[in-house]
Amino acid sequence: MKFNTVKRHFKEGARNTWRNGWMTVASVGAVTTTLILVGVFLVLMLNLNHIAGELEKDVQIKALVEITAEEIDVDQIEEEISGISGVQSIEFLTKEEELENLMESMGDQGQAWGLYEQDNPLNDAFVVKATDPLETERIANEIEQIDSIYRVNYGQEYVDSLFKFNEYARNIGLALIISLVFTAIFLISNTIKITILARKKEIGIMKLVGATNNFIRWPFFVEGMLLGVFGSLLPIAVILVGYYFLTQNLDILQQFDFVTILPFYPFAIQVSALIIGIGATIGVWGSLMSVRKFLKV
């Protein structure tokens, strides 16, 4: 292909985009709407995933030490625990600290128990965190094997619920985002297909004048790309501006202390790049797929 021909294809593609007027507007509109949808959900899902991860990081194992255990034991237990693979951090709490925490967490009612400080019925404990929260159960079980550990507690019910819930939420979120992307692919290529169906006759004429399939395809390639790129502009603007605004007004969210969101940079930029990538790819793909139908003339 000569350079002049390459130039011609690009010029022609751009010109067709312009000449198709309403059709172009309609296509770009469809791309825009669909990509805004995809973009907003992507941002939402990735942040929910992030929050789920934060919640999981809070999970900790409480290993209660036998009341009979001596000081000397504690160091050794700590060593044994840190010998287990996947342990991230270990913290030791005396039973006095425990009682204090308990009283605090119970608020006013808890004060009543203060009277019993001298006769503390609680145990000393280790608070252990796993590197991968999902390994919590295994590590807890291993800790339980240690002789001087009286009982291990990691809020089994809550943690199991949390992990299960997060797993479902993640799967549903993934399924949602995947089906949304496929929906986008379908809707965009579908719209482009219709605009090209309307040009069936023109493609037939080109073939009769001796144009090869590639010669016909190239301007459509350019046109599809332009439709995709133009259609990505507004969604990207929405995401960048919207997300920036969100990160600047986090005080609303901070009322729920477990909520932190992904930082604007690089997250919003990455999503934007993804959006324009999806737009251009589907544009080109939809365009070429539809044109293919008419090339056998």
Partner: protein, 228 residues
């Protein structure tokens, strides 16, 4: 140049448009195809650049067997043939200039040569001043002349013209005829389906008369008429 043997064409709806056609046309000939409406003239011409493929028989053009021609080769084959369609088939969104230039762009001519050739044929058909118009802004006869210009712009070896003067007044028709004769004189084979008794009887050439999908007469220096 052209050789058809026992060509039959039945359209999907059951119409038999060609019913056993045998014909040989030599390089450099000028041939009229005449016949009543629906005789199969357009179908006959469409065989020659493979717009349609016969249901039976063999078609050879430019030493190429069109039935065996691969899809990939069709565009290259068509570049040696200029066609004026009965319904013009101009690209509606391109200007007159661009429509004609398209036939040269596909063969990757240089922009300079394209410009030169297009302006030259536009001059020949008398439409230089309408180069920037789109087809919808032209009169019927003007559109027909654009179609003629596009067919001859890349100096094809074979020029097929289906009713090229149907929308033209007599004066313009004669001008077109003299252009066709000129092209023919320079070696191009010309095949022209026409209803113009006056042209056929004045510019005497070989006449192939069709009726009901059959060739009923084939005369050199013949007259218009298709009764047997």
């Amino acid at each position: 140049m052209i050789e058809m043997q026992d060509v039959y064409m039945t359209y999907p709806n059951g119409v038999v448009a060609l019913n056993g056609v045998n014909v040989t046309i030599e390089q450099g000939e000028f041939v009229y195809i005449v016949g009543p409406s629906g005789a199969g003239k357009s179908t006959f011409t469409k065989m020659l650049f493979r717009e349609t493929v016969p249901t039976d028989g063999t078609v050879q053009v430019n030493n190429k067997d069109l039935i065996k021609l691969k899809w990939k080769e069709v565009p290259y084959f068509r570049r040696n043939i200029g066609v004026v369609y009965q319904d013009f088939r101009l690209l509606p969104k391109l200007t007159v200039y661009e429509n004609i230039a398209f036939a040269l762009e596909v063969i990757e001519e240089t922009p300079k040569n394209i410009r030169k050739r297009v302006m030259s044929v536009l001059d020949q058909v008398g439409l230089k001043n309408k180069a920037r118009f789109i087809p919808d802004e032209l009169s019927g006869g003007e559109q027909q002349r654009v179609a003629i210009a596009r067919a001859m712009v890349n100096r094809p070896a074979l020029l097929i013209a289906d009713e090229p003067t149907g929308n033209l007044d007599p004066d313009t028709s004669w001008e077109i005829m003299s252009i066709l004769e000129e092209i023919n004189a320079s070696g191009t084979t010309i095949l022209m389906a026409t209803h113009s008794k006056e042209i056929v009887n004045t510019v005497k050439k070989r006449v192939i008369a069709m009726e009901d999908g059959r060739i009923v007469r084939d005369e050199h220096r013949g007259e218009y008429g298709y009764e047997i």
